[in-house]
């Protein structure tokens, strides 16, 4: 190359302001925070996270073009790219260039550094570039058996396994001899990229997905859809309200890992009459909107925001839930799946990258196809076309399910309200469509009351204190019972107030049995009075009680008379006795069964006995315990010492070394990756190898353990045990 290649930074520097604006529009992460100069912008734009983000946002067609660009030797001409893809690519090139996924060098294009790494070593199943000279003409002369071999490699994977490079059949032999195949190692051959492209008919992809498929589904009328959506909206609002009320009634304790436990979710689901997956969704929805929180003492409780939320109009309530759902990366569909048992709502494990992207795409497709209930498979395919990198079939299914629960869709098709939401209209039209709140109830003779529609918040709160809810839906059925009336009285209402309230809001006359019930409970309410006090004074002579009550000297004792013969005081027994004696009375203390306590002279502690724990002498531990303790410490020490010295070994070396150690029955150190990916050194005595596993005794634990050979990163001999024996002389 005569000229020094232009750098990506230089190219960015030369872009117009407009183009840069477009770049930032498509890749907002490049400007948060704003880079200092073009060099740092280029560095950020070619960083793996930023490139991954950019690639994720490509649709399948654009992604295919980028794949094709990564196949070509750089710099490449526009025409080269068009010829291995299709003419339509021309329209997309500008966009990809603006995105900074291609950059120009004169009239040619290059891909920014790192992009090829992300696309992979074998883009579109193409093998490595040919090392030697490429002679495409030879492909015309490929014998038939060899062609059969080639046909298996053309569309990838481009590598094939052979038994031994030294004993080749004629078919593969011919290909290797003519450099149509190249040997990667003694067992692997590969088809070089240039030949494969030629054999693919000078294209890269078998099929180009230039446009998404059309959505197929059931057609519905907008009225049907909106009716169903209205039902969904009022249902979800009710569910959330009910869920939060339920939390305050039966507050669950959060799991140690955070989140609501399975048992609590089961109970909540049962209470709401929904499936557990739906209950999990409701919990997450409320969590997103800050309506529920896990308190520092692990209690899952509704927040004060819930009370504010309740006072808002229904449309606002709905909007505040849905708008956060659109953006969240938390995937509530994961809750309670059999494969991930421990994913709990409100827990830390729900975030999934790309969830929001898939959601937006799903909704966009619904929005573009009004009055259609999509078939899951069809919409999944289209979502996949839009976000091939982030596509997850389950997410699509869950998005559709949740959109239906939320009423964004009705019977699966986008509702008027969903449309208004996604197109950011001021008036979503929900308030008009939802049933008007009613301000009356109908009381019936069986001590039930029906609110034939959603009650106004004040009435519903008031009714909630004096009646139990029996059934919900369009209407609410309340039931009055002794317990519910008592609850009302406990809230400070009088029987008459309850009666007046009900008479006022009921359209039907108050039935006699209910009036009787209220009067009856009110009459009995508070007949038993309970309070707390420290000391009592009782005397069968009411006159004496009277005398104490009126004794000026006793005033500071603040005695209260709760019955003709009983006084109570908030002072200690000893104090009262002492004082009364001083004033010339003759009190005596009694115990709980009324027996006189004589012996006031001997003072005794009032606390119950609380002996300290006995700490005995240590017994000498047994010999085997000492031995194993030393062994554990020694093994730990050795593995710590040898930690840095275990050299990485290739798998072949590992196997060879292990076999050798097994033969010589030597102790060795391996560097081993555990289930969580953490690597640690283990001192082991190898026993045997079978089925890809090494059976060995782990010196640290003293147990026979299986080690998976692929997870052994390195093997090294260890110092012999005899060397350390001297240390054992305790």
């Amino acid at each position: 190359m005569s000229k020094l290649a232009i750098t990506f930074a230089d190219e960015l520097r030369s872009r117009s302001d407009q183009d840069l604006a477009a770049l930032f529009k498509y890749r907002p992460d490049l400007v948060t925070p704003v880079p200092n100069d073009f060099t740092s912008l280029a560095a950020r734009a070619t960083s793996t996270p930023s490139l991954v983000r950019a690639l994720d946002s490509l649709n399948q067609w654009h992604y295919q073009i980028i794949e094709a660009a990564c196949v070509l030797p750089e710099p490449f001409k526009k025409s080269e790219l068009l010829s291995i893809t299709s003419e339509e690519s021309a329209f997309a090139l500008d966009y990809l260039w603006q995105m900074g996924l291609l950059y120009k060098e004169g009239n040619n294009y290059r891909t920014p550094i790192n992009l090829k790494l992300l696309i992979g070593d074998e883009p579109v199943g193409l093998g490595p570039e040919s090392a030697g000279k490429v002679n495409l003409n030879i492909l015309k002369d490929v014998p038939k058996p060899s062609m059969e071999v080639l046909s298996k490699l053309i569309w990838g994977p481009p590598r094939g396994q052979i038994s031994n490079i030294k004993k080749l059949g004629t078919a593969i032999g011919w290909l290797l001899d003519n450099n149509v195949l190249i040997a990667l190692d003694s067992n692997t051959v590969a088809l070089p990229r240039e030949y494969a492209i030629n054999l693919r008919g000078n294209k890269v992809h078998k099929e180009l997905y230039i446009k998404p498929n059309l959505l197929s589904g059931k057609k519905l009328t907008q009225k049907q859809i909106d009716l169903a959506a209205v039902a969904n909206i009022s249902t979800i609002l009710r569910w959330c309200e009910e869920f939060l009320h339920n939390l305050s009634d039966e507050t669950p304790t959060a799991l140690r890992t955070g989140g609501i436990g399975v048992r609590d979710m089961k109970r909540i689901a049962e209470h709401l009459g929904v499936e557990e997956s739906c209950a999990g969704f409701i919990a997450e929805l409320c969590y997103l909107s800050g309506l529920v929180v896990i308190d520092p003492d692990d209690q899952v409780l509704p927040t004060s925001a819930f009370d504010i939320w309740l006072s808002k109009p229904q449309e606002e309530r709905w909007y505040s839930l849905v708008v956060l759902w659109l953006d969240t990366s938390r995937v509530s569909g994961l809750i309670g799946r059999t494969s991930d048992k421990n994913i709990a709502p409100l827990g830390p494990e729900l975030d999934r990258a790309g969830a929001s992207l898939i959601k937006r795409t799903t909704l966009k497709i619904l929005l573009e196809n009004p009055q259609t209930t999509p078939e899951l498979e069809s919409i999944s395919e289209i979502v996949k076309w839009w976000n091939p990198q982030r596509f997850n079939a389950e997410f699509v299914e869950w998005n559709l399910r949740e959109a239906e629960w939320l009423g964004i869709t009705g019977q699966g098709a986008i509702s008027e309200f969903g449309k208004n939401l996604l197109t950011a209209q001021d008036d979503l039209g929900i308030e008009k469509a939802l049933p008007k709140p009613v301000d009356h109830i109908l009381i019936q003779a069986d001590n039930s009351a029906v609110a034939p529609g959603p009650l106004t918040p004040e009435l519903s709160a008031e009714m909630g204190t004096i009646a139990d809810i029996e059934s919900r839906g369009g209407a609410t059925v309340y039931r009055f019972s002794e317990a519910s009336i008592r609850r009302g009285l406990d809230h400070g209402k009088t029987g008459d107030q309850i009666k007046t309230f009900l008479t006022k809001i009921s359209k039907t006359p108050m039935p006699q049995p209910l009036a009787y019930l209220i009067a009856d409970v009110a009459k009995r309410h508070g007949r038993l009075r309970i309070g707390s006090t420290q000391t009592y004074i009782r005397c069968e002579d009411e006159g004496l009680i009277q005398q104490i009550m009126h004794d000026k000297k006793c005033e500071h004792l603040r005695l209260r008379r709760i019955a003709p013969q009983v006084l109570v005081a908030d002072f200690e027994l000893d104090e009262i006795i002492g004082e009364l004696r001083e004033f010339g009375y003759l009190p005596a203390a009694e115990n709980s069964s009324g027996v006189l306590l004589s012996q006031p002279n001997l003072r005794r502690a009032k606390s119950r006995p609380k002996p300290p724990r006995i700490v005995s002498e240590f017994l000498a531990p047994k010999e085997n315990i000492i031995y194993s303790a030393v062994k554990t410490i020694r093994a730990g020490e050795r593995s710590r010492k040898v930690e840095p010295i275990v050299p990485g070994t290739s798998s072949n070396e590992t196997l060879a070394l292990l076999n050798q150690f097994i033969e010589t029955q030597q102790t060795l150190v391996i560097s081993y990756a555990d289930n969580n990916g953490g690597v640690s050194n283990r001192i082991i005595e190898p026993i045997s190898i079978s089925l890809g596993s090494l059976t060995a005794r782990d010196e640290t634990t003293g147990e026979i353990t299986q080690f998976r050979i692929p997870r052994i990163n390195g093997v090294a001999p260890t110092v012999t045990i005899s060397e350390n024996k001297a240390d054992l002389d305790l």
Binding site: A231, E404, P435, A445, D446, G473, G474
Partner: protein, 548 residues
């Protein structure tokens, strides 16, 4: 949004606003698939249950009709998931069919091989089935027809029974309508049953269920076995049959503890059928004694469990169940559905009352304050004796007597549970008592005297709960009951609901000891009455005692 009379709740209850102009039309439309749960004065509650939906399928309705009705009358938007659920549930009925095959006998058929596969894998079902003929047909072991239906219902795949019925031995029976006329709804009920083949007719107490049975017999014109609750009821059936049909008294047999007659029309009691000798049901042969063309189960909600088992064996005979309520305290509604048959006809209590066929009733709960001594005794009584104690208190007796005296000119029934208390009342009131040990002859004599007005007041134990026709009783005073049984409450109320010659209303007093377990039970029973739409009030016993 329509302004319909119906509100669909998320717990699958339907609230019907009966003050709405369309309420009548809507009620008729939903009655076919939803069970009426309660009918107080303003809002009636119906419930959608799988059994109800299947009953509706059995009556020839499909899911689309049901959904249309809900959408048409619903005031608010109906959750889509509920509609899907209804369609799904209803589509389960009839996917399996029991048919008669000329070669293989009884077969289980389905157009949906997957369903067939699913049920054959069921542990309970598999042993009842024979070889599979093809993807859609499996032979059923003869004699398993009933058990199979029962098991399939439990799996949620109720089978439709097309295997047909035997005609039974012919016996000429026709109605003899001289001086009386069969009522329209009775005729409809009998026809509904006959077209369905087998099933249950639900009519309130006092609405003339016996006549429906008789009309069904006239349709069948075949030998008939009638199963009733007790001997007195058996005798009343006999009288009705003689009065309403052209049957010869010699053709009617009684099969009870006292007599063992087998005639073309045989009336047997549940008790004798379930009597065991050395662990074996001694009278099972009755089911095979004659080639019965029709079997009638009176008070089907009381059918004892063993009878279900016998019934499973006789699925090829036409079966008619008669009852006032499908509510069973033991929850065996599913057995009634699968073994006797689906509900073929019902009319709400209030509707028949409105037509004047049963007397309107006024329910009064009398709250009695126990004396301090009684309260103390109650508080210290053993848990299991408490109900008995408060139900039989002296104060209660005094109030009962005072009430009976106030109604000295009416026909009064004093109903109770505890014999000692009843004996005491009988002595104090100076009226006869009827209880379990009273000989049948004596019972009949006393009932006859009561009917004719010779006796104004009777004290009766729970033997009189069912099937005893006392048309002129206008006042019932209940002093104690079987705890909180709703079904007993319905029956007792039923005693006084027969239309009165002078069109008077009936009154049902229930004496309840305040602040005791009695009051808790009363609440349960009386809520039931209020739910049925009866005017219902509570008064203090003092009001009654002061009047005297």
């Amino acid at each position: 949004m329509s302004d319909g009379p119906l509100i669909v709740q998320s717990d699958k209850t339907l609230l019907l606003d009966i003050d709405h102009v369309l309420s009548d039309e809507c009620r008729r439309a939903i009655a076919s698939f939803a069970e009426l749960e309660k009918s107080p004065e303003h809002i009636h509650t119906y419930r959608l249950t799988p059994l109800g939906l299947w009953n509706s399928r059995a009556a020839g309705h499909d899911a689309e009709q049901v959904i249309d009705v809900l959408l048409k009358y619903s005031r608010y938007a109906v959750p889509h998931s509920l509609l899907v659920d209804i369609a799904e549930t209803m589509s389960r009925y009839g996917r399996l069919r029991l048919e008669a095959h000329p070669v293989h006998g009884l077969i289980l058929v389905s157009n949906d091989p997957a369903v067939l596969k699913e049920v054959t894998r069921g542990k309970k079902v598999a042993p009842m089935l024979g070889s599979q003929l093809d993807d859609e047909t499996i032979v059923v072991h003869p004699g398993q027809r009933g058990f199979l239906k029962q098991a399939l219902l439990k799996l949620g795949w109720p089978a439709e029974d097309f295997a047909g019925y035997v005609d039974g031995e012919h016996h000429e029976i026709s109605l003899k309508q001289d001086g009386w006329q069969i009522r329209k709804y009775q005729e409809l009920a009998a026809e509904g049953f006959w077209h369905g083949g087998s099933g249950v007719v639900v009519l309130p107490c006092g609405a003339g269920k016996t006549i429906v049975g008789v009309a069904a017999m006239a349709h069948a014109k075949a030998t008939t076995l009638i199963l009733v609750t007790n001997t007195v009821a058996a005798r009343q059936w006999r009288e009705e049959l003689i009065k309403r049909t052209d049957l010869n008294p010699d053709d009617i047999g009684e099969y009870s503890g006292a007599k063992k007659e087998i005639r073309p029309v045989t009336i047997a009691t549940y008790q004798v059928m379930t009597t065991r000798k050395k662990g074996v049901y001694a009278h099972l042969d009755l089911f095979d004694a004659i080639d019965w063309g029709l079997i009638i189960y009176d008070e089907v909600h009381l059918l004892p469990a063993p009878i279900f088992r016998f019934t499973a064996d006789i699925q090829s005979r036409r079966r008619l169940g008669l009852t006032a309520t499908l509510v069973r305290e033991d929850g065996m509604e599913g057995e009634v559905f699968s073994l006797i048959g689906p509900k073929r006809f019902d009319v709400p209590w209030k509707e028949i009352e409105a037509q004047g066929y049963i007397a309107p009733a006024d329910c009064v709960e009398v709250r009695i304050t126990l004396t301090d001594a009684e309260r103390l005794n109650y508080a210290t009584a053993e848990q299991e004796d408490r109900y008995r104690f408060c139900a039989t208190s002296q104060t209660k007796k005094d109030v009962a007597i005072a009430l009976a005296k106030q109604h000295a000119n009416d026909q009064v029934l004093v109903i109770g549970q505890y014999l000692e208390q009843l004996d005491q009342l009988s002595v104090d009131l100076g009226v006869p008592v009827i209880k379990g040990e009273t000989p049948i002859k004596e019972r009949e004599r006393l009932f006859a005297m009561f009917r004719s007005g010779e006796i104004k007041c009777l004290v009766v134990s729970k033997v009189a709960n069912f099937s005893i026709d006392l048309p002129e009783a206008t006042i019932a005073i209940q002093v104690s009951g079987t705890f909180g049984s709703r079904q007993e409450e319905a029956q007792r109320l039923g005693r006084i609901l027969r239309p009165k010659a002078d069109g008077r209303g009936a009154r049902f007093y229930s004496l309840v000891a305040r602040d005791t377990i009695d009051q808790d039970f009363a609440q349960n029973r009386q809520r039931f009455l209020a739910e049925q739409g009866y005017a219902y009030r509570i008064i203090d016993a003092d009001e009654i005692l002061n009047k005297n």
